[in-house]
Symmetry: C2
Subunit: 220 residues, 2 copies
């Protein structure tokens, strides 16, 4: 039958609910076989025109990892200034775990994706959409395996591209930190720390046109 067992459905909903964007890691190494499994989970993501536009760069050399960290730190300062009135509050947030996590992966869009016209003629950004689905697969697989993962998007892409010698059409879109954790946050870290609140799903769901709220409201 098409439907999974109740237990398996519950496991799928549980991993979706308990996945977290993690910034606090233990430095223990990750089992290499586990890394292969979560990368294979990423590679099973959907992609527009089956173009499989994801590329993964494992950062293994400590000096290379330090250089990645420095790019992020530079952008963290720039972000803080741009936030103006919330600058101090922002600077107290932990926004990455690059130096202490077990594995750092840079994820990039491939070059030459303009050759894949099917499904992205009017929406060329669909390569990013596909790679994001792959990252979400990896996030969920890692969570089930007990490994935390964080997506750091705080960097200047052109600088990271040069650092990792990417070709003209490629673009880095994520620095992923993966690692063992003492515990997963009970709620998203930015919610726990009062940075932003969870919205009500019923406010985000419309019928037939933007802004038309369904009645009765979706239960939360």
């Amino acid at each position: 039958m098409n439907r999974f067992s109740n237990d398996d459905i519950a496991a799928v909903y549980r991993v979706i609910a308990e996945r977290r964007d993690v910034r606090h890691f233990l430095s223990d190494p990750i089992d290499p076989d586990l890394m292969v499994r979560v990368l294979q989970a990423a590679h099973l993501a959907p992609s527009v025109g089956f173009m499989q536009p994801w590329r993964f760069i494992r950062i293994v050399d400590p000096a290379r990892r330090q250089a990645v960290y420095e790019l992020v730190e530079q952008e963290r300062i720039a972000t803080a200034h741009a936030l103006a009135q919330r600058e101090d509050e922002f600077m107290r947030l932990k926004v990455e775990g690059i130096r202490e996590c077990g594995e750092v992966l840079v994820v990039a869009l491939m070059d030459r994706c303009e050759e894949h016209v099917f499904g992205r003629r009017t929406l060329p950004e669909m390569d990013l959409a596909s790679v994001s689905c792959a990252i979400q697969n990896m996030w969920l697989a890692a969570r089930a395996e007990g490994i935390g993962m964080g997506w750091v998007s705080m960097f200047e892409p052109e600088q990271l591209k040069q650092l990792l010698q990417m070709p003209a059409g490629a673009k880095p879109i994520a620095i992923l930190c993966l690692g063992h954790v003492a515990a997963f946050y009970a709620k998203p870290m930015l919610e726990q720390q009062g940075w932003a609140a969870r919205q009500s799903l019923s406010d985000l769901l419309f019928v037939d046109r933007w802004g038309a709220i369904e009645s009765p409201a979706v239960p939360e």
Copy 2:
């Protein structure tokens, strides 16, 4: 403990492996409670700065659904012409199931996302990345529940935006078809039909810089 049980880990990997981008639907209606569950799964996705940039528009009115279909059909013809030498092959592919599926949802990026500077100052497209993670959650939840889902990106976004009366900063990025299916494809449909081949993960995985293949290669 942080790690799920072996059975639950297997369920997570199974749903990732058996999820398909579906274009062939039965027209039976979807249980409204199931729709709420998969939308809640979407809403549990990560988002940059916890901005939760996803908006969902259920297409309920049959005339509205027909209008959405016509936008896609128009772009399908334009895509076929753009594909040139593969035009005939493309026109034989089934690329959407809008008229026959149980539910059509349009997913959009919210307006005013420029207010959320944290994590997207240098990568403003991170709102699309977050919404794509939400769609992947929905895809996996639907698959576990035995419901097929397809992401149609073949439309002119400005036209769909006008049809659904979206505000200036909002943008539609997906037409999702959800529905019961006779069976899930054994492999991705575009792979089954010979449109494109599954790449080898080891060709997509580099070390420390673009193009540096890890040795020994990742087992497939």
